[in-house]
């Protein structure tokens, strides 16, 4: 297992929901592969299994500012009974169950406030995306993923 995957999640036509993909498009780091998806799907397990680390970058409804934190597999959270959605923790659990290994994982959540139809980010999401970019730069320059809050 080598390298890091930076995985942006979201729909760029739903305003702030696109902040994850747009953030990933803004940055470039040596040895870090980038991938953008609209939503998580099961076959991504095969993609992430070979990485040492994966950093999910996703919009959030929680308010506040951008935050980076560790994620662990959660096998009761693989899918929702009536939707096609999959959580980051569920994808990690599926990866572990299928292949017996799972990358170290982190979630960079970027709060948004507007999720209507449109291609522009709100002013708040733009601010948070800038902050998120700084978090990623510190994270990858530090060369360690042990405690992202100290980066």
């Amino acid at each position: 297992m080598t390298g890091t995957l930076l995985l942006g999640i979201g729909n760029i036509h739903r305003e702030d929901d696109g902040v994850g993909p747009k953030c990933v498009d803004l940055v470039s780091f040596p040895g870090v592969h980038r991938l953008v998806v609209q939503q998580l799907v099961p076959e991504l397990a095969e993609t992430i299994r070979d990485y040492e680390r994966v950093v999910f970058v996703d919009a959030s409804l929680r308010g506040g500012t951008a935050e980076l934190g560790p994620l662990l597999p959660r096998d009761t959270d693989t899918s929702f009974p009536l939707t096609h959605g999959m959580t980051c923790e569920g994808l990690l659990a599926l990866t572990e169950a299928l292949y017996g290994r799972v990358p170290k994982a982190f979630l960079l959540s970027i709060p948004g406030v507007s999720f209507g139809h449109g291609e522009n980010l709100s002013a708040r999401a733009l601010e948070n995306m800038e902050e998120a970019r700084g978090i990623l730069e510190r994270f990858f320059r530090s060369g360690t993923a042990a405690d992202p809050s100290h980066n």
Binding site: H13, V37, Q39, A59, T78, T83, L98
Partner: protein
């Protein structure tokens, strides 16, 4: 006193998809509602855009079946051009559509329906999920992932990217297929067919073991709609629309561009989503089902041999009459997956598939265009009105979830009436209510997904709205 039960996956952003069940004083189901959003926002979003942007914009409606929207939009744009699409371009479009069907149908069966079928309706909900399925049958789960990846590989080899391709454009496609790509796709097709047939064996064993419950599960009469071609053969990419009646006989066949003459939509004040019906029969007789069960009930045959074998078994399940139980959708998904794999092989072995004649461009000649395709979950209509420069003035989309709205309400009501007796409702019963919806596999929340709380909530109220009890599971 009437009590209300609500099963609500609290949504992503724009509203709710939930089940509300009203009980009477004796704990019997009085009435049931299934509420869901639709995609009107996207129709507004397209206004003022140039028509040839729509094959790139509309796939963002859905993260699971973007190719279907991509192709329906391209077909509508072909009509705006008013020029024939080269045969090779049609073959390549159909090929990526088969890739979409393979990955989407595989996901439906193995990841959504699989936990119920392999682990059981009444299994502990903590393990009744895809990880539980992996632990119960790891080999099957790996094959499911490979199947999905194979479908995505077809899309990537042909269209250059797995999601939101820009491949289909008005008048054709923007790239031809290389021989190397063709060979890479072909080499694995037989292995994938074997995987799907393993799934067929599993669903047939499940049906045999639970025959009585399967036959009765969300079973109700309806009409059925789907594309057919060549004398009634199942068609997923380009054919005529067939409407079959409750007895299975063909009521009508029409070109998709005339859908407004044949389909009307009823509005109810308790749902954001309209209720389409076949105009000549009116409401409620004219309500129909789409998707795999609808398509197989409407079709007379399947043009590929292995899928036809299964089709004959399917047709025999209700003595030659339409198969009415919603749980047979799960079998129909797999039959269509077999067809999609066989059809992909046919296309790849076609002598024209490597031709470089893939585009027939031209100016805007028509101010209206309608594209119709069988998306994985049912018939998809894209209808655009443009000005003389090609700027979109108006758009109308009817998606599978909309066509099946009435049927999902019927299915939920049918299961609730069959299983809920009294106010103590076991988890397995609630799972069956949700399972009735899963048969139809609606796209409820594909458009946005920002991190948020999405528990399933069951709330009970009395007839005056006072809280009685609740259940919740994340």
């Amino acid at each position: 006193m009437t009590k209300k039960i609500t099963i609500s996956p609290v949504t992503r952003i724009e509203g709710h998809a939930k089940v509300t069940i009203y009980l009477d004083d004796e704990g019997r189901v009085d009435r049931t509602y299934f509420h869901v959003d639709q995609f009107r926002g996207y129709e507004k979003f397209t206004e003022g855009r140039f028509y040839d942007e729509l094959p790139m914009i509309t796939p963002r409606i859905c993260g699971i079946c973007p190719v279907s929207h991509h192709l329906a939009a391209a077909k509508a744009c072909d009509e705006i051009l008013g020029r024939p699409v080269p045969r090779t371009a049609s073959l390549l479009r159909e090929l990526i559509h088969m890739g979409q069907v393979i990955q989407s149908h595989a996901m439906h069966f193995f990841e959504l329906a699989g936990p119920d079928i392999v682990l059981g309706w009444d299994a502990d909900p903590a393990v009744r999920n895809v990880v539980g399925l992996v632990r119960a049958n790891p080999e099957l789960a790996l094959k499911a992932v490979k199947l999905r990846k194979y479908g995505q590989t077809i899309i990537e080899e042909v269209a250059g990217r797995r999601i939101h391709p820009t491949f289909a454009i008005p008048g054709g496609v923007n790239a031809s297929l290389s021989g190397d790509s063709r060979d890479r796709i072909l080499k694995d097709v037989d292995e994938m067919i074997a995987y799907i047939r393993e799934g067929v064996s599993i669903i047939l064993a499940f049906i045999e073991e639970h025959k009585e419950e399967c036959d009765a599960f969300a079973a109700f009469p309806s009409a059925y709609m789907g594309l057919v071609k060549d004398g009634g053969a199942l068609e997923l990419y380009d054919g005529i629309v067939r409407m079959a009646g409750r007895d299975g006989r063909t009521l009508d066949e029409f070109a998709g561009r005339y859908y407004l003459s044949h389909i009307a939509e009823k509005v109810d004040d308790w749902s954001y989503l309209k209720f389409p019906y076949f105009k000549p029969l009116g409401d409620p007789e004219g309500h129909y089902r789409v998707g795999p069960l609808g398509r197989l009930n409407a079709a007379d045959r399947i043009s590929t041999p292995l899928a036809q074998e299964e089709f004959l078994k399917f047709k025999a399940m209700n003595g030659g009459r339409p198969v009415e139980s919603s749980v047979y959708y799960h079998y129909a998904w797999l039959i269509e997956a077999v067809y999609a794999l066989e059809r992909a092989r046919e296309i790849l072995e076609d002598g024209d598939v490597l031709s470089r004649d893939v585009l027939n461009p031209g100016p805007v000649t028509n101010e209206e265009g309608i594209g119709v395709i069988e998306a994985p979950r049912g018939t998809l209509f894209h209808h655009y009105w443009v000005d003389e420069n090609g700027t979109v003035k108006k758009a109308n989309l009817i998606v599978a979830t909309g066509h099946n709205n009435w049927a999902m309400c019927q299915a939920v009501d049918n299961v609730a009436r069959g299983y809920i007796q009294g106010h103590d409702i076991p988890e397995g019963v609630l799972n069956r209510v949700e399972g009735a919806i899963r048969c139809y596999d609606p796209c409820l929340s594909c458009s946005t997904h920002a991190i948020g709380e999405m528990p399933v909530v069951v709330e009970v109220y009395d007839h005056q709205g006072a809280f009685v009890a609740s259940r919740e599971r994340a």
